[in-house]
Every structure is written in structure tokens, then in C-alpha cells.
Symmetry: C2
Subunit: 368 residues, 2 copies
């Protein structure tokens, strides 16, 4: 069967009340769907994307060379089987792929928001999605799944909309962002802010898209370190040189250097620096216990069947952070959850690149 990829944008005119006390009004949410919703709407799966992901999780657009970010995972016969399930993935607010973000036009001035855009949180992102699903007349879903910031959203759904999803699967996430991850984001933020071409947020978006922004490239390089692991770099790049044309090794460029350069500079062609600042801020201030007396109190709200998946070599959100959730669930006597810790040398990126390590598990959870 076909993937039945559809892309839509919904426009909302009612105010979105944000955690900060500010409102976003009006706003758009862009989303994709795959597969077909059944008559009793019992086959809906929500996929949540990570920092630089988008609603484009699967399939390939005409003229595109690369498929959606979780294409190996979502499709006919795949772990999230679009022959059985109706899958929705929406671009989070604050991002730059169609949903309202800092480079959207502010009503009624028709100027870009830039720094006037309000701080958004993971909880706000989840709230906006919940409103989107209401609009689509979906008031309960079968499952929610996501990795990294997507895993944060999945957990936030579990706590704030306890009756919404039957099953929640959170990969490579945490209960609250730790200083280690905040530090990597700090390097990226500072690097963007100090780039003179960023012009304190008043850059020309077309010029940036064309020429890139060196500060964001450098920041993204730091990000890439945090997505990988000592082991995966050693295995993938070792101390190999990019050029092997006889130049003495003292003057060559290491493959790892070339990898970071390529990914850093390429990134600036497709991602917006203000969106990067706002979304890393949302990640930094992510804390499941906010608004509760403790993490335990927050976790007591959960009614969905919960699946936690961590990766042993993840240096960004360490497996012990997921283990704290596991321990908290034990402590409060929640018996409707399962935790697995996957051995992967790929580090944080494992949730995107080593699907074979968890696709059977996810398939079993969804199908069984």
C-alpha cells in the first residue's frame, strides 16, 4: 500500500495561552499524515519531532533527495505500519517549517516576530498539538511516540493530558534537561548571538538562507558532538585524513573535522537561527515537575501505558536520566510501564540511525 503522505496547514485565530503568561494569536500548525484513519478513530499515532526535525517524518516529496527523518520507521510494513495506523506528525510552534515561529509574520504588523516572539516551552508545543487534534476531531489517540525533544513531548502529553493517549513511547529523553545538555546549547546560542551577520536577530532571512551563518554552523558542530559518542566517532572516522594525496599528515584535515564542517555549514542552509535559539531555550527549560510539588507528583498523573527507551552511549540525555523516571515510577507504584536500555555505540543519534535496535520492540508495543 502507499504511504498516503499528505501535508496540511491549519490556521487558528483563538489565542494560545502560553506557560509564560503570554499569548500567541493567531498561529498556524503545519502537519503531515500517513495512512488512513479508521472509522472509530482508534488507529491514530502521533509522532513528535526533535530539535531540528519537522512534520516531514516519512516519505519523499517530489524533487527531494532525502526522505523524512524517520522514514525507515514509518511506512507500509514498517515498525509504525501505515497499513494499520493513521500517523500524524506536526511541526512544533517556535520552529521554522510552517508552524508559527519567530520568523513568522506578526499580526497585525506583518513584520517578522524575531525577538518579539514569546518563549515557548515543551508544554506549549504539546498544548498547540492538542488543539490541532481537536480541530481534526481527534480527542483520543492510540499512541504517541518521539525521541529526544520528541520524547520530551511524549512525556509531557502523558502528564498533562492523561486521558489522551493509550500508549506513550519516549526515546532518548530526560525528566528535566541537565546542565550538561544546557552547556552544549549554550555554545550554540552564544555562537549564533555573537555572529555579526546575525545582527541581533535583525538578519535578512533570505541572505542567511543563501550564505549561511557561520556562528550557527559552529554551534551546530558542538551539537553534533553531543549527538555522537566517543565510540561511534572512533569507529566511523578514527584518525583518518580527508585528503590522501601525499600531503604529510601534519597539514591534512581529519575526516572528523570535515564531517563537522559539512554538517555545520550545510545546516545553516535549511534551519533558521532564531528558531534554533527558541527551541534550544524550550529544551533547556524542560522540566516535567514544573507546576507540581515534585517529579513524583507529576508522574502520578500518568494513566497511559508508558514505554521508556534509553541508549547506553547517549551522552546528551544519559540513560541514568531515563532511569530516574524509571525509579520514580517504581516509587509511586506505577505498574503500567516498561523501561529498556539499549546497547548502541551511536550515542544520542541511535534513535534516528539504529532503528533495528528498537523497531521490533515498538512494533510489539503497538501491535500487541
Amino acid at each position: 500500500m502507499s504511504l498516503n503522505l499528505q501535508t496540511h496547514t491549519e490556521h487558528f485565530t483563538n489565542p494560545l495561552y502560553l506557560e509564560s503568561g503570554r499569548i500567541l494569536e493567531p498561529y498556524d500548525i503545519t502537519y503531515e499524515t500517513y495512512g488512513e484513519m479508521n472509522d472509530d478513530k482508534s488507529n491514530v499515532i502521533i509522532v513528535c519531532h526533535a530539535l531540528t526535525g519537522s512534520h516531514h517524518a516519512a516519505g519523499i516529496y517530489e524533487g527531494e533527495t532525502k526522505a523524512g527523518w524517520w522514514d525507515g520507521f514509518i511506512g507500509s510494513g514498517k515498525a509504525i505500519d501505515t497499513d494499520k495506523y493513521f500517523v500524524i506528525c506536526s511541526n512544533v510552534i517556535g520552529s521554522c517549517f510552517g508552524s508559527t515561529g519567530p520568523m513568522s509574520l506578526q499580526h497585525p504588523h506583518h513584520d517578522y516576530y524575531r525577538y518579539k516572539f514569546p518563549v515557548v516551552t515543551i508544554k506549549d508545543m504539546v498544548k498547540a498539538q492538542r488543539i490541532l487534534f481537536d480541530r481534526l476531531d481527534i480527542h483520543r489517540v492510540y499512541a504517541i511516540i518521539g525521541g529526544s525533544m520528541g520524547g520530551m513531548q511524549a512525556l509531557q502529553f502523558a502528564i498533562h493530558y492523561p486521558n489522551f493517549a493509550q500508549k506513550i513511547i519516549s526515546l532518548a529523553a530526560t525528566y528535566a534537561t541537565q546542565p550538561w545538555a544546557i552547556a552544549f546549547n549554550k555554545v550554540a546560542q552564544e555562537s549564533i548571538l555573537k555572529d555579526p551577520d546575525f545582527k541581533q536577530g535583525y538578519y535578512d532571512p533570505e541572505l542567511i538562507a543563501e550564505n549561511g551563518l557561520a556562528g550557527m554552523a559552529v554551534g551546530r558542530m558542538a551539537g553534533h558532538i553531543s549527538f555522537l559518542s566517543h565510540e561511534s566517532m572512533q569507529s566511523k572516522f578514527g584518525r583518518e585524513y580527508k585528503r590522501t594525496d601525499g600531503l604529510y599528515e601534519l597539514f591534512g584535515k581529519f575526516q572528523i573535522e570535515s564531517y563537522l564542517e559539512y554538517n555545520g555549514y550545510n545546516f545553516t542552509k535549511w534551519f533558521d537561527p532564531l528558531a534554533y535559539l527558541y527551541i534550544t531555550k524550550a529544551i533547556n527549560i524542560f522540566d516535567l515537575s514544573r507546576g507540581f510539588d515534585s517529579l513524583s507528583e507529576a508522574m502520578k498523573k500518568i494513566q497511559s501505558q508508558l514505554h521508556l527507551i534509553s541508549f547506553k552511549n547517549d551522552i546528551l540525555f544519559k540513560n541514568k536520566e531515563m532511569q530516574k523516571l524509571h525509579a520514580t515510577l517504581e516509587e509511586i507504584g506505577n505498574t503500567n510501564y516498561h523501561y529498556i536500555d539499549i546497547d548502541s555505540m551511536y550515542g544520542h543519534d541511535a534513535f534516528l540511525v539504529e532503528l533495528d535496535k528498537f523497531e521490533n520492540y515498538v512494533k510489539d508495543v503497538l501491535d500487541g
Copy 2:
């Protein structure tokens, strides 16, 4: 007894033949000594500094607020006891504290070298020190000790001057720099190179010293991540905010962010960006096996008693890198070495900050 701190600079007019094939001529080496050399010169200990360290390892200059970088370790009654030993620490070539580096004046033009400065390697740094000691009429020493890049120098001394030191102690170092560490250096290098105030190396050193260089500050922040550990950040900063004046947490600055800012921007006031580029390059291309058929062949040259010290949470030079040296020594049947792996949550910085974890060990090695 007093530390007997003395600072000197020696000038050399003979060419220094570098690994790259280029020469450095003339050149200076600045060094400090502590304690007093005994009559048979049997009490000399060489201390080697790390990336941004200097010859100023111990004691405090008039007007200084902070003592030398290993002051807790070197002094009367301390692990390296200046009542017993005559200690020498020299600034490496390529650095910016008196020894010849990229911002030294090039003879005979009396212009700064800048990019005309040759690539230097750890082996070159060690060779220059060996020539300094010859000048000081010291042809054999009791011990050589260093951490991080200082530990690399200690190992390089062991291989290239097998008869020079009786004992070698290398902390928090590696056999060859791995892509993980190169990646962190890449972020720093790229961040410096892309800063417009760096002016492709043609910056005004006085202006840089006064105003700092944001690109180097950002790069240094990435460095600081690699010096710490997830655990030490969690314990030291947690998710605490810098300001607690009632601002809602959504808008505050995390303590870890403030720590990185302070250390990043402060760094640019006392370190030279070109020196940072040259020394990180030297670290990246460090490989004990260069010039040999294999690491084993290189290690077979060692005649000194060798002490290897790694730290369990060091994410920059992982303990398994030191363990590779350990395994290689086993393999070649070297029985004159000892390896310890220290439990410290401080990560790479442990060799500077958690002296109590290894000072007794070092004292025993030196005294026994």
C-alpha cells in the same frame, strides 16, 4: 622553606629542526624553577603544562591574585616537595607566555609570525625542552610529570629520550588523540577562524587582549564542556539559576550558562588565539606511534619507570585510551610500569582540581 620561585628566559640561536621539516631560528624558552638543585643534580623534576597552561606552575607573583596552575601540588611539603626536589617547568614553543610562538617577532623582519609560524608537534615541544635542559647543563633528570597535553609530553619524552628520565608520570593523556577530542578542538578552531575580529590572523594583539575575541570565548566554552563531566556539572550547577530575584524561571539564566560565559570571555583576556590554533593542532596530530611501525614499536623504546594515571569520568581522553597504553606495555613485556584508574566525578579537570586523589601516589613514586 621557601618555594624559591625563579623565572628565566633562555635565547637560542641555533636552528630548532621541527618534525614538519621546517626550522625555528632563533627562539626563546621561558621557564620557572622551584627549590634547589643538589650537587649531583639527582633531584631534578620536570613538570609539563597543558594546552593553556604556562611555565608558571606554582607560587604567586607580586600583584597576582591566583597562584600557578599546580600550586597545590608543587611546594614545600607538597606532593612534589620543593624542599627535596629542584623543579623546572617551561612554557612550550607555540604558546604565548614567553616562549617563541606565532605572535613572536620573526627574525629578521621583526614582524609577528602569525600564520608564518611553523606547525609544531608535541615531539617538537619536548625537543625544545631537551635543548633548554642541555643549556642548563642538565642531561638526565629524576622524573617528568604532566597531565593532559603535559601527559603527552611526558610520554613523548619517555619514547624519544629513553635515557633522560628515571621516572615518567603521565596523567589524563592518550596514546594518540582520538576524533572525539579533535571534534572539540574543531569547534574552537572554527569559532576563532570565523570571528571577523580575528581578521584571518591579522588581528591587533593589543585590541584582542583588551576587548577579547568572542569566537575564542565560544570555542573555549566547548572546551570547558570537555574538561568537565555530566556528573560534575550536575553536582556543581544542577538546574539552578544565576539570578533569584523573582524572575520567572522561563527567563532566567542557568548557572551553567553563566559559568561558561565567565570562563569563555575571561579566557580571551589572557590567551592568544593564534597560540590556541597552533597548540590545538599539536594536540590533534599527537600520535606516539608516528615514526614507528606501530605503537608497540614506539613503546619498546621506553626505559624509564612509567606511571600512567587516568580518570574514570574523563570524557576528553577516556580512561580506555590510557588502558590501550597499559595493554600495549603488557603485550611487549614491559614490567617497569604501573597503571591506576582514579574514580573522580570531575572528568578531565580532575588532574588539576582533585589532587587529593593522586598526590599520595605521586609522593610515593617520587620518594620511594
